[in-house]
């Protein structure tokens, strides 16, 4: 407690000194604010001072303020902060006077003289002095605490984003992610359309051609080929349907769906799944699609020979990592599969990033909040 008190006192003292520098700055730079050219320089300087103050508040008062403010706010802060600092200077002056007085009286007490120095001191004399001394100590301490608190509040008021700003930011974030979710849904529909038209439909047309040829030529070998082609088409249809929505998610849970995904991949996939409780279905769906799309990308583009999937929990977040030993160079472009994933993850209030240097390896990571 004493250490804390000493830190606070020192902080207020340092604040008094910075206030002196700030007074100079404010007074000298105020005329420059009128000129548009120098105005920005002044504002930037104010920001530097605000940064120093933030560091002081953090160092001495354990009060963290983020750098989330603009230069105008910094200047406004500085104007008022100077007053608080000067008040601190006054308190420190009182403190200094008190210390000097205490030293003088202390010497007289030790040498046995009366307070003030004339004659021998009695207990009553000293008691009379002790009362105002205690009051003075109390007042000084209150002054220190008060200035420290004032410093804190000023910084919070001017340098922290207001509740309104936070709400506005949240609204604009929600607005954007909502639009992006719609976009992501459309992208997926496009992909399904492609899967159906370029995959299944082509196969069926080819099958029709095969059967047509069989009929026209009477070649039974063609019928056999057609029969095989039917199997292939059915397999592809199953793949497309699975791609639209893996029903295993509903029926057997995320771990089973991921296992099944790994089994169906054409290159070896290791799944490490260490969640003890299954996530909500909506969250499980996001995780599943992050994994599925990343695996598809890795198989298609990276030339990887091995893929690892890791789903684990860190505190109140679920971390999903998909790594491959391929050639890297994956980019999150808004139209690509990874862009769609970034939007899905953002809509679930998560973070998404792709680390894929040229030459590899690639790690796709999504961090999603969970209850």
């Amino acid at each position: 407690m004493i250490i804390r008190a000493a830190r606070t006192t020192a902080g207020v003292g340092l604040g008094a000194l910075t206030a002196l520098a700030e007074v100079l700055y404010v007074v000298l730079s105020a005329p420059l604010l009128v000129v548009p050219a120098t105005r920005r320089v002044v504002l930037r300087g104010a920001r530097k001072f605000a940064d120093v103050e933030r560091a002081r508040l953090f160092r001495f008062f354990d009060n963290y303020i983020s750098d989330d403010y603009d230069d105008h706010r910094a200047l406004q802060y500085l104007f008022l902060r100077v007053l608080a600092g000067l008040l601190g200077l006054g308190i420190w002056a009182c403190l200094g006077a008190g210390v000097v007085t205490a030293v003088v009286y202390g010497r007289q007490l030790v040498t046995g003289r009366a307070p003030g120095g004339q004659g021998a001191g009695t207990v009553a004399d000293w008691l009379l002095i002790a009362v105002p001394a205690a009051i003075a100590v109390f007042l000084c301490w209150q002054g220190i605490v008060g200035v420290a608190e004032l410093d804190r509040r000023l910084a919070k008021r001017f340098l922290s984003p207001s509740y309104r700003t936070l709400v506005e930011r949240r609204i604009s974030f929600l607005f954007n992610t909502r639009a992006e979710v719609v976009e992501a849904v459309n992208d997926e529909r496009r992909r399904i359309e492609r899967d159906l038209h370029d995959g299944v439909q082509q196969r069926l047309v080819a099958l029709g051609v095969l059967l047509g040829r069989a009929r026209r030529t009477g070649n039974t070998e063609l019928v056999r080929q057609a029969h095989e082609e039917v199997q292939e088409t059915l397999r592809e249809l199953r793949e497309v349907a699975w791609h639209v929505y893996p029903i295993a998610l509903d029926e057997s849970g995320l771990d089973a769906a991921l296992e099944s995904l790994a089994e169906r991949a054409t290159i070896p996939v290791d799944v490490r799944y260490t969640l003890t409780e299954p996530p909500w279905l909506s969250l499980a769906t996001v995780i599943y699609f992050v994994v599925s799309e990343s695996v598809t990308n890795a198989v298609k583009h990276s030339g990887a020979t091995r893929i690892t999937i890791d789903v684990h929990r860190v505190g109140r977040k679920i971390v999903v990592e998909i790594g491959d030993d391929g050639s890297g160079g994956a980019r999150t472009v808004s139209t690509g599969g990874l862009g769609g994933l970034a939007r899905r993850v953002a809509a679930a209030d998560g973070q998404f990033n792709v680390d894929s240097p040229a030459g590899g390896p690639t790690v796709v990571r999504a961090v999603l909040p969970c209850a």
Binding site: R194, Q201, Q202, V205, V209, R213
Partner: protein, 214 residues
């Protein structure tokens, strides 16, 4: 006849190559995208090209653009466009170019091998071949509804078959009516749609389609 195929699905391309070979046609080239189609056409100068609409690299309308370019550069080459779905815009673009030697079929129609080969032959011979589905859409959603509403049901049937590129003889066969009554219906249609009398099979089809698709 000498044919060039452009289709990006290897499976279907191979199937079509075999089919055409079995039918005695000479497939001089089989390619997988629009640019290769144009190159091959410039070199081999086939009687007819068959092209898918959606091909690499953008998977949008490469085939159609290649087809239009071929029509412009080598008008004597027939062009048969295969599309995954009916796109009125595509049909209108193909129609608005002059002359016959053009076809637009739904890809599904290829599975009806007979119809596909029939359409191919018509296009190669200078005629037109439009998918019944395409024609139905054009007829159903034309901007000249007043004129069309003056047609009787029978005349609509005849118009539809005409637009698909059928001759009067084959329309008569398809609708189980005599050829002379087909001619009578056709004349009534031209009258009602204010189209000038025109001799020649492909010009008739194109006139009708242009009118419907505009």
């Amino acid at each position: 006849m000498r044919v060039i195929l452009a289709e990006d699905s290897t499976l279907l391309r191979e199937g079509l190559v075999r089919l055409l070979a079995e039918e005695g046609h000479d497939v001089v080239a089989a390619v997988g995208d629009g640019e290769a189609l144009i190159e091959a056409t410039a070199q081999a100068r086939p009687d007819v090209v068959v092209t898918d609409v959606r091909m690499p690299p953008t998977h949008t309308d490469e085939g159609l653009r290649a087809a239009l370019e071929i029509r412009e550069k080598w008008p004597e080459t027939g062009v048969l466009v295969l599309s995954q779905y009916v796109e009125k815009r595509y049909a209108a673009k193909l129609i608005s170019a002059d002359g016959g030697r053009v076809g637009y079929l739904l890809k599904d129609r290829v599975a009806q091998v007979g119809e596909f080969l029939d359409a191919l032959e018509r296009v190669a011979e200078g005629g037109a071949a439009f998918d019944p589905e395409v024609v139905r859409r054009l007829v159903a959603r034309t901007s000249h509804e007043d004129a069309l509403s003056r047609l009787t049901q029978r005349e609509r049937d005849v118009l539809e078959k005409m637009a698909q590129g059928h001759t009067n003889a084959s329309i008569a066969q398809l609708l189980y009516i005599s050829q002379s009554s087909v001619e009578k219906h056709a004349n009534a249609i031209f009258d009602k749609l204010d189209l000038p009398q025109a001799a020649g099979y492909s010009r008739r089809v194109l006139a009708v389609l242009r009118y419907l698709g505009s």
